[in-house]
């Protein structure tokens, strides 16, 4: 069995009297992409925030890279991309990359090379010296992903990375994610796009704070007797 990069065991989380997560158990191994799907308000963001240590679970444990979260030092080994672009629009793309690279603790000697590499991956090299304020929506998403990739993190946590991205670029991003997986990295990705759920190694269906289904896409489809993850989703939700 491959090394576990993320172990969320029996997570419970309440905000006030509202229970957001009930007994959520998820794992990401090295060389694996875990897709987290579910409707808005299902608790996807809470799972991510708990994995990053921004929230603390009321029950269960969140282990990332064999360390209990929250842990500040560990954040340098995780690449995080939020749903909103979270960029400094008054700075250029290169300045954004440089700033976050420094915050992540990428060594000064390797920073320039690391920036050049991630910019090439997301195809932003010619636009690096433009102000982010002048970027298109797709360019902002790509820059945001590039920041997450800085510092060659062992675990990537991506919250809806392909929203608002055209199909050609989406394919490119998935190619890169598969390349990272093959290089032994782990990826936790949330998505709304159902056909993307076919591209992951494991898929977890989160509904009302509970994991309704969890397994390899092909296995789940067989289990529910359907031909796509979308149908699994609808069936689990009780719609079809």
């Amino acid at each position: 069995m491959a090394e576990q990069l993320m172990d969320l065991n029996h997570l419970q989380k309440k905000f006030g009297r509202q229970t957001v997560l009930t007994d959520v158990t998820l794992h990401v191994a090295a060389g694996e992409i875990l897709g987290l799907i579910g409707p808005s308000g299902a608790g996807k963001s809470t799972v991510i925030k708990t994995a990053l240590g921004m929230e603390v679970a009321d029950g269960g444990e969140a282990l990332v890279l064999a360390t209990h979260m929250p842990n500040r030092q560990l954040l340098g080994r995780i690449g995080y991309m939020a749903q909103d672009d979270s960029l400094y629009s008054a700075l250029t793309g290169a300045e954004n990359l440089r700033f976050f690279g420094r915050m992540k603790g990428v060594a000064k000697a390797t920073l320039a090379a690391a920036i050049a590499h991630v910019a090439a991956v997301v195809d932003l090299t010619p636009d690096l010296n433009k102000l982010v304020a002048g970027y298109s929506g797709g360019m902002k998403r790509r820059l945001s992903l590039a920041i997450a990739l800085l510092g060659d993190p062992e675990l990537l946590i991506l919250d809806e990375p392909t929203v608002g991205i055209d199909p050609a670029l989406r394919r490119k991003i998935w190619t890169e994610l598969h390349r990272l997986r093959d290089a032994g990295r782990g990826v936790l990705i949330t998505t709304h796009v159902m056909d993307e759920a076919e591209l992951v190694d494991e898929v977890a269906l989160l509904l009302g704070g509970k994991v309704m289904a969890y397994g390899a896409p092909a296995l789940l489809e067989a289990q529910y007797g359907v031909t796509s993850i979308e149908q699994v989703f609808l069936k689990a939700e009780g719609v079809a």
């Binding site: 921004m54 929250p70 749903q83 979270s86 700033f99 976050f100 915050m103």
Partner: protein
């Protein structure tokens, strides 16, 4: 090291926002220039007084007083009409010998007191004149009597000594000003406090907005998803806005000293130190308040609650005569201490070493607010 990079980022973001920069650096100078114009102007109020049946000597004396013009009116009715028509500011009516009725428009307290003081002075001057005339008449009578006496009894004349008339020596007052010159007015008094106020106002507002923007755009979350310490973020903001406050102070000081002729008795370094310290307090205050705001508009709503009271209680208006509990309000406002320290340095030339109390209180504010901020950021990341 990370806080240094955060500071650099904040500064470079700010320097690309030309309008905000202009607001920070040009607006205070413009406002101070306008205040100087206004407060210098209002120092020389002039009044027009209508007189009815007032003695010519008194009228002349009153007219001779600076900024007072006398208008003689034939009847009280005419004079009252002039007052109604806002042509004169007061009517002095001598109803019977040495009985005066003065009617004031009283729409401007300064004008009313100028008329009161002017009329009293005119009466005094007139009384002195009458006294001098009487004295002259008396001495003439004495001289005549002595002459008559000499004729009647020449041998006795030698025994009567004429008192030598004292030549009135003119009184001369030499004025020396410890601070400023004869033109120093209200504006000079409020300059030190205004300097502090501008630093506080702009740093409070802009830093609060900046952190609010980081929160709403998600960059704060992203920042906190790196190994950066919460304290490093606060420190980075302090460094950048501290530098900004220093630049602002240099601009304000050089403009007030260079173009508006304000004198700084103490050391410039002292002024800079206090402003720097105040800027850090304002920053910590701004960051703390920004956590309570959901939008930039809500941040603006703190201006009447946090900023404006500081103006009233920081010493721009003298608080000496107010009730104790009113004065007590000023003790919890940081601008009070900064304003006091600035006044001491600029007007009395007090060295920083003698301002230990003010500096200590400002440091206490700073420490407390910073601790609250670092603690408050736990809301966004639990470690």
């Amino acid at each position: 090291m990370r806080s240094f990079y955060i500071a650099r980022r904040v500064v470079s973001e700010l320097f690309r926002d030309k309008r905000t920069l202009a607001m920070m650096f040009v607006a205070p100078v413009l406002i101070m220039f306008l205040m100087k114009l206004i407060f210098t102007q209002s120092a020389t109020t002039s009044v027009t007084v209508a007189t009815v049946g007032v003695d010519g000597n008194i009228r002349t004396a009153l007219n001779d007083i600076k900024h007072v013009t006398v208008q003689k009116q034939a009847s009280n009715r005419q004079a009252q009409q002039a007052l109604k028509d806002q042509k004169v500011d007061a009517v002095i009516h001598e109803t019977s010998a040495n009985h005066y009725t003065v009617t004031y428009a009283n729409t401007d307290a300064t004008k009313t007191s100028l008329v009161k003081a002017g009329f009293n002075a005119a009466l005094t001057v007139n009384g002195m004149k009458t006294l001098t005339q009487t004295t002259v008449q008396l001495s003439q009578t004495v001289a005549q009597l002595t002459a008559t006496l000499a004729k009647v009894a020449p041998q006795a004349a030698g025994t009567v000594q004429m008192p030598k008339r004292q030549q009135p020596t003119s009184t001369k007052i030499t004025s020396r000003y410890n601070y400023g010159d004869k033109d120093s007015g209200f504006f000079d008094k409020i300059v030190p406090i205004l300097m502090g106020f501008f630093v506080f106002f702009f740093v409070f507002l802009i830093s609060g907005m900046a952190l609010l923007k980081e929160r709403t755009t998600g960059t704060l979350d992203r920042l906190l998803a790196t190994p950066v310490r919460r304290g490093e973020i606060v420190l980075g903001y302090m460094m950048s806005y501290g530098i900004l406050a220093l630049i602002q102070t240099v601009i304000i000081v050089s403009c007030t000293v260079g173009f508006m002729g304000v004198e700084i008795a103490g050391s410039l370094a002292g002024v800079m130190t206090i402003n720097f310290l105040l800027a850090l307090v304002a920053l910590a205050f701004g960051i703390l308040m920004s956590t309570l705001a959901q939008s930039e508009f809500q941040m603006m709503q703190f201006i009447p609650i946090i900023v404006i009271p500081q103006v009233f209680f920081s010493g721009i208006v003298p608080l000496d005569s107010l009730a104790t509990w009113v004065k007590d309000i000023s003790f919890v406002l940081p601008l009070t201490y900064a304003g006091d320290a600035m006044t001491q340095i600029i007007m009395y030339g007090t060295p920083l070493t003698s301002l230990g109390r003010d500096i200590a209180v400002l440091l206490l504010f700073l420490l407390l607010l910073t601790a609250l901020n670092v603690r408050g950021m736990r809301r966004y990341r639990k470690v």
